[in-house]
Symmetry: C2
DNA sequence: CCGTTCCTGAACAGATTGTTCAGGAAAGGT
DNA sequence: ACCTTTCCTGAACAATCTGTTCAGGAACGG
């Protein structure tokens, strides 16, 4: 496998492959894309593809790592109590809608979802840990899992649908669905 | 395509195919199973398989439909009258843990998850529609999506983890997390 | 017992995957 | 400008999987 950062040809080839995959995912969905598709779209030799990536999956992995770095930089702290991260989350996704739709939507892959879930779980856990109410008598991890599940499901639906909803409306749904339950679990929380 | 219910040969063939897929999924995961695998495991002719199912996917769909029917029958009303399917769901998963882990776990594949989500969405929608409170001022579909997301996330975590929790405890988490919010959305629900 | 329906299994075209290899092309350093 | 290293090419290849076809045999239900 060629050195990753050194040669300009390597950078061009890898970039072309990743660009090809994302474009094809937007057209056919992740599952339907074949390695041959990527090779043709990227306009490279067949052997070239396999010298850089073992799989269609590993192309996606690399792209996700890039996206992860980007998201980590853009992360903003919540500002109004429980689930304060939510609005910022939906707003951010709103800006990156095209890419997010491809990655998280119905035609996206499973890998993406798991990684995003992990990322969200960190945000939620920080949020809940900041509450000064009494510790709940249910496992915190389960609560985090449930909350993340809700947000992820809403994100997916939002990214897929024609979406007339604004980030604020999406956040409102999540907040009103989960807020009362969380308040009951963690003690009275004033927004 | 042969008549589904009439002939004994048809029932045997279809049952063998479904059994084969589930067994293979438990061994290799959904994605790794090929139609040829199923054919060999089920010990049937190649053409026979394609007479009954167009896809590996459709074999799975049929099996999941069976699960849906089961959950519908087992449904029990919760304290609020809402989320009555939950306990039966967790109990069933508890019994079929190996299978469910394969279905929803990391090796499960995206198709399974979407199908199960669709299945649960119907149950939740029926549940919420049965409430006599005023219509909520947020889109019902979004609420359903959020609720299903929570249950699915809890299911996945539960199936994957070492499981010290009982079905009742899992159901309790979901109920306490979502119940208050749903009550607030759909009007006061008397216990 | 008999007409209907189903199963068989081989054979087939087409796609896809992942590897190999020799020769040409581009890169980076001096 | 030169030269050595590294990369890209693209065709050829075996292997696997898919979905269809068809004629003959087997099981079914009545």
């Amino acid at each position: 496998m060629p050195d990753v950062a050194a040669d300009r040809r390597v950078r061009r080839t890898r970039a072309a492959i990743q660009r090809a995959l994302l474009a094809l995912m937007a057209e056919k969905g992740y599952e339907a894309v074949t390695a041959t598709d990527i090779i043709e779209r990227a306009d490279i030799g067949r052997s070239t593809f396999y010298t850089h990536f073992t799989d269609k999956q590993h192309v996606l992995y690399d792209s996700l790592d890039d996206l992860g770095d980007f998201l980590r930089d853009q992360r903003r702290p919540g500002h109004d109590g429980v689930l304060g991260f939510g609005l910022a989350l939906f707003e951010h996704v709103d800006e990156q809608r095209d890419l997010v739709r491809v990655l998280l939507g119905r035609r996206g892959g499973r890998v993406v979802q798991d990684r995003v879930a992990h990322l969200l779980a960190e945000l939620v856990r920080e949020d809940l840990a900041a509450l000064d109410g009494p510790a709940p008598d249910v496992p915190l991890d389960l609560v985090v899992t449930g909350v993340v599940g809700t947000y992820l499901a809403l994100l997916r639906t939002w990214a897929d649908s024609g979406t007339t909803w604004t980030p604020a409306e999406m956040d409102d749904v999540a907040r009103r669905l989960l807020g009362p339950g969380l308040a009951a679990l963690f003690g009275p929380v004033t927004a």
